[in-house]
């Protein structure tokens, strides 16, 4: 079969890349080999546009056991416990088929975590949709939410936190990012690096079908006109099989049978075998006749590029095959030795006793292209908003507008569809700043949260990058956890566009600065480029997933108010920054302006002070002030509890709108019992932390003196109607 220009193009390879392939091979590739190159060299597997930027990120720290480069990151949480976690995007598949796209996204990220020997203990997600009035949004939202729930609920891992946002920038390209967190024993982590010659390469899990072979289907339709047209098929998730795979893997991992293990994710058998061999500087030989297939007459090309779900590749120690097979058969799963490791440093593919393809591993991995793409710096936006020209609005009306908007409405319509309690260690469910998961049978816990701020990142990528790391950090602090490390999912537009690449470079710079300052390293992540349509790229949307540690958990602290007549204090200075605020967006549809400054020193000091207060058991509830500002944060505390608040009129700022809706960073609201107030003041004063007493808790009413007084139940209703009516 002749490799035409069309075929090369259909495989997403550039002309120069094809020339490069020929050079590396010293000959022309055949179709199978071309398919393999195209899979390994695409953006998703090779990170060719992002690699040089990602290299700059801080990935080390005392707490880091394994940074980026493995299936997931691993951190130390003391004793013999480790936490394994990662976030991944499934944006494009979810737009095509929301239920299956989202559910296979969850399945994929879970495999990344349990391949490393961890039992998954929590799922999170960050989902972004287009405008609620866009005709597709409703069914996409429904499909994605039930897909996420469908997978997590069935496999029995609690979905405990996430974020849901609407913005017309995602009209044609929604974002579905899923994060999984697992628990492992520190000395029982499994890696993907192959070791040893002539070891059995074993295929386990589901059978291989023609799922997601895009290049293949298109190419074959082109040059094989007589054959029945093969449509690209959507991957269907099978959480039941994944549950079996999870249990079987963990059972086998109890002893030392496994040398190396890798899930088959994107580019399936190809990327898993190449990755194992590449890390171990070995070769791999596969006999494709042995691959368990679901459909008849599958070709080597299809087997190598299939993205069928719920499959794994393992390399086993000599003599352990029988024992391992027994375990997988107990769980009704396929177990087949399909090849062996070699010293050739080549990927060798045999089919029907013939070598159908042979490629040096280095050509696929180490020598994959890397691009230093052109990028341009974002021009500083001038703060053009003339507040005097805006129509006057009452604080109460503005607040109601925000609380009843799609972006700020209560998310229980979503979270009630997720099993948050299975495994019985969820000490704090969705609804607070971070979820808390207790480590099974111990009295320590981890806190988890995912965050993004696309508007900030669009307006000023550098500040936006810093801000999301800080917001995520704050969310863990407010539940009393020491933030340890993060994973990140970088959702951006077309990297061949200089502005998009600029957003990427600057966001990353911001993330880097904040992570370094806060000693909050990045241990895993994922890049998703090409989000958007030909002409319109999505807003830059990096998503941060953080994990923190609560060394000894007594009672989970959240943001719902606990006692009547407590003091409410605000940590951090309020300047009243309204640029990029949701006050302007929801009330005036103004999206211009700069995001609030991020002062890393203040962030760190304020956060550490709050953590100290919580650790000394002086705080009854805590909430960070972010999107929406002070009044929205106070409303959230009220709505999630049985109490109201009575807030004093601000003394210094004369513009109450700025005071109540400004989105200045580094701020927290704390509820403190009167008897603890002196102690708290002392600690804050010694730490040189700016704070002000803003009011007290009370029964029944949400009140700002002289401005507004709303019954608590009404506030609840305002916040809870949107999803139910949508």
């Amino acid at each position: 079969m002749k490799i035409t220009e069309k075929i090369i193009e259909k495989h997403g390879l550039k002309k120069e890349e094809y020339e490069n392939i020929k050079k590396l091979l010293n000959r022309n590739p055949n179709l199978l080999e071309l398919g393999i190159f195209s899979a390994m060299w695409n953006e998703h597997c090779s990170y060719k546009s992002s690699k040089i930027h990602l290299k700059k990120l801080p990935t080390k720290g005392k707490q880091v056991i394994q940074g980026p480069g493995e299936n997931a990151g691993v951190i130390d949480i003391g004793d013999d416990d480790a936490i394994v976690f990662k976030i991944e995007s499934h944006n494009h598949p979810s737009y095509i088929e929301p239920y299956q796209g989202a559910s296979t996204g969850v399945g994929g990220i879970l495999r990344d975590v349990f391949t490393m020997g961890a039992r998954p203990i929590a799922l999170l997600n960050s989902i972004h949709f287009g405008s609620p009035s866009h005709p597709k949004t409703k069914s996409l939202l429904n499909g994605v939410v039930s897909g996420i729930g469908g997978y997590g609920n069935c496999i029995g891992i609690p979905t405990v936190a996430g974020e849901t946002k609407f913005n017309e920038t995602y009209n044609e390209n929604i974002l579905v990012n899923a994060m999984a967190v697992g628990h492992a024993k520190k000395n029982k982590i499994f890696y993907s690096k192959a070791k040893g010659l002539n070891k059995s390469v074993v295929y386990v899990g589901s059978k291989t079908g023609r799922d997601g072979i895009h290049g293949a289907s298109m190419a074959s339709a082109e040059f094989d006109e007589n054959s029945e047209e093969k449509k690209p098929t959507v991957q269907v998730g099978d959480p039941f099989t994944e549950k079996l795979l999870l249990e079987a893997c963990l059972e086998l991992m109890k002893d030392d049978s496994i040398i190396s293990i890798q899930d088959m994710g994107a580019a399936g058998l190809t990327s898993s075998s190449v990755e194992m061999a590449s890390k171990g500087s070995l070769g791999i030989e596969l006999e494709l006749d042995k691959v368990p297939c679901r459909e008849e007459n599958m070709t080597p090309y299809e087997m190598m590029l299939s993205e069928s779900q719920e499959r794994m590749l393992m390399i086993l120690e000599d003599g352990k095959e029988k024992h391992a097979k027994q375990i997988f058969e107990k769980w009704d799963l396929d177990f087949v030795i399909i090849g062996k490791t070699t010293n050739t440093k080549k990927l060798t593919l045999k089919y029907k006793n013939k070598i159908e393809g042979e490629i040096p591993i280095d050509a696929l991995a180490a020598n994959a292209p890397i691009y230093d793409r052109k990028w341009s710096k974002k021009k500083n936006e001038k703060n053009t908003i003339d507040f005097k020209k805006l129509k006057k609005i009452k604080i109460e009306d503005a607040l109601i507008k925000i609380l009843s908007s799609p972006n700020h409405s209560n998310k229980s319509w979503i979270t009630d569809q997720y099993d948050q309690m299975v495994m019985c260690d969820t000490a704090q469910r969705s609804g607070s700043d971070a979820a808390i998961i207790r480590i099974h049978n111990k009295d320590k816990a981890i806190a988890v949260s995912v965050d993004s701020s696309a508007n900030y990142c669009k307006s000023h990528p550098l500040t936006g990058g810093k801000q999301i790391v800080c917001e995520n950090w704050r969310n863990l602090i407010t539940v009393g956890a020491k933030p340890l490390a993060i994973t990140n999912c970088l959702n951006f537009g077309n990297p061949e566009n200089e502005d998009v690449m600029g957003e990427f470079a600057e966001c990353l710079e911001g993330i880097k600065k904040a992570c370094e300052f806060l000693n909050y390293p990045i241990v895993s992540g994922n890049v998703s480029f090409y989000n958007g349509t030909n002409k319109k790229n999505i807003f830059p949307t990096p998503v941060i997933g953080g994990v923190g540690l609560i060394k000894k958990i007594f009672k989970p602290i959240g943001h719902s108010l606990k006692k009547d007549k407590s003091f409410l204090i605000l940590i951090g200075k309020t300047f009243g920054h309204l640029g990029q605020s949701c006050f302007l967006q929801e009330n005036y549809s103004i999206t211009e302006g700069k995001p609030p400054e991020v002062n890393l020193t203040n962030e760190k000091n304020n956060g550490e002070a709050v953590l100290k207060l919580i650790n000394e058991n002086l705080i009854d509830s805590a909430h960070d002030v972010s999107n929406g500002g002070l009044l929205v944060a106070l409303s959230e505390m009220t709505i999630s509890s049985n109490l109201g608040v009575k807030i004093e009129k601000p003394k210094k700022l004369n513009n109450t709108i700025e005071y109540f809706f400004g989105e200045d960073q580094g701020r927290y609201i704390l509820e403190i019992g009167e008897r603890n107030f002196k102690k708290v003041e002392k600690i804050l004063k010694t730490g040189n932390i700016f704070y002000e007493k803003i009011g007290v808790t009370q029964q029944e009413f949400f009140e700002v003196e002289g401005e507004l007084k709303i019954a608590k139940n009404d506030l609840f209703k305002i916040n809870n109607q949107w999803y139910n009516n949508y």
């Binding site: 088929e97 959507v234 269907v236 779900q309």
Partner: protein
């Protein structure tokens, strides 16, 4: 008069069945498990089983062509996920 009305109302209703099946090559996790279970229950000469959905739809409409068009719309708008499923409409007598 009474009788005439009844007659009319009978005529007004047309009944259709819709069978929705997964497209070829799309994974059918349910079918797989059901097949294994049946085999375990001793149903050895079962060759293959695939599971789909079935709808019975009554439409208030006299014109069969129009009615079928309605049913078709229901399939495309809601009942069928066209990306992974095929469907077949039949008139029920």
């Amino acid at each position: 008069m009474e009788k005439l009305f009844q007659l009319n109302s009978k005529k007004n209703k047309l009944k259709f069945s819709v069978i929705v099946t997964l497209k070829k090559d799309v994974l059918d996790p349910q079918g797989k498990v059901v097949q294994n279970t049946l085999a375990n229950l001793g149903m050895d000469n079962l060759k293959s089983i695939r599971q789909g959905k079935y709808f019975e739809i009554d439409v208030e409409e006299q014109d069969q062509v129009k009615a079928e068009e309605k049913v078709n719309q229901m399939c495309e708008k809601l009942l069928v996920n066209l990306i992974i499923e095929d469907y077949k409409i039949d008139k029920v007598k």
